[in-house]
């Protein structure tokens, strides 16, 4: 019984990890890749480790396994947020099929001089970085991403 439960969590986790790998290779721009990698990777490995916790069924080992889940679910989204912010900041282009970008026109997009992280680092590097803060992101499309016309069907089942 315990093994069946653990085994099904293993299979689920393996499938999600597979999908994370496929997603990161197949998605067209950095942000969609981040979505695929963060979500599928975190839940996939989370499922695997939950299976391990069920499998060992021992106070110490299961607690350690649950601790790994806790760390993953706390750190993975924070890491994704920081990479996404940095990527947007240096002007990594969005996919040509992107329909709306409210951040581009927003007045508060640059990471300002009073930013916490920048202040912590200090020095000449911080000066140099803040000078180039308010440049607009690169409007040219990605080199590797050929433009596609986003035609979508209205009866898409996953559409909200």
């Amino acid at each position: 019984m315990k093994d069946i439960l653990a085994g099904s969590f293993f299979i689920l986790g393996g499938l999600f990890s597979l999908l994370a790998g496929l997603g990161i290779l197949r998605m067209p721009d950095s942000f969609t890749r981040m979505q695929a990698a963060t979500k599928a990777g975190t839940l996939g490995v989370g499922c695997l480790i939950l299976g391990v916790a069920i499998y060992f069924a021992d106070l110490g080992d299961s607690t350690r396994a649950l601790l790994v889940i806790g760390f993953l679910f706390l750190t993975a989204p924070v890491a994704a947020y920081i990479i996404a912010r940095a990527a947007y900041h240096i002007g990594v282009p969005l996919w040509s099929g992107t329909v709306i970008d409210e951040l581009k026109d927003s007045p508060d997009r640059g990471i300002g001089e009073d930013d916490q992280i920048m202040r912590g680092a200090g020095g000449a590097g911080a000066q140099k970085a803040s000078a180039s803060d308010h440049t607009t992101p690169n409007p040219e499309p990605a080199t590797g991403d050929e433009p596609r016309t986003p035609d979508h069907d209205p009866d898409d089942p996953t559409d909200r």
């Binding site: 999908l19 989204p77 970008d101």
Partner: protein, 157 residues
């Protein structure tokens, strides 16, 4: 939170009296202590404790549900043709949130359906979120505000 302390104490007493210090037994003791507290009117902060714990449980279930939906949808996007996607970045206005509430909210947004928090404006009033599929920006905005933010604020305030 003294009602919570009482609950821990009751669980501990249960574990001692049954002479079985396994986590399962401790959880059973915790549940029994919870039921006992339900009938103990004199413990202070009891009502708030029950309300909070109920909200915490429903929040956890809501989160797990959203997480599973998110991954099924992500799987769909991964294996279907790319032109099913209509990604976009949308700004979501926020209430006055504390630091920890912001962390929890942006983590939730990142882990749930087709959304990834990208940027928080400097006045902490707007969170820019990358969506996998944007059809109606205003509808998505009100969805995030209505489900995630409302539930989180119910839990913490």
């Amino acid at each position: 939170m003294s009602a919570f302390m009482w609950n821990i104490l009751l669980a501990f007493v249960w574990a001692v009296t049954t002479e079985l210090f396994t986590p399962t037994n401790f959880v059973i003791g915790f549940i029994i202590g919870y039921i006992v507290l339900w009938f103990a009117p004199s413990v202070e902060g009891r009502r708030a404790y029950f309300l909070k714990s109920w909200r915490l449980v429903t929040f956890l279930f809501f989160f797990i549900k959203e997480l599973v939906i998110a991954n099924v949808r992500m799987a769909y996007y991964t294996i279907s043709p790319l032109n099913r996607m209509k990604p976009g970045v949308i700004g979501i206005p926020l209430e006055d949130l504390t630091d920890s509430e912001l962390v929890v909210l942006s983590n939730l947004i990142t882990l749930t359906p087709g959304t990834l928090s990208v940027f928080l404006s400097q006045d902490r009033k707007t969170l820019y979120v990358h969506f996998m599929r944007v059809d109606d920006p205003d509808k998505l905005r009100s969805e995030i505000k209505g489900s995630f933010e409302r539930r989180l604020l119910e839990l913490t305030r």
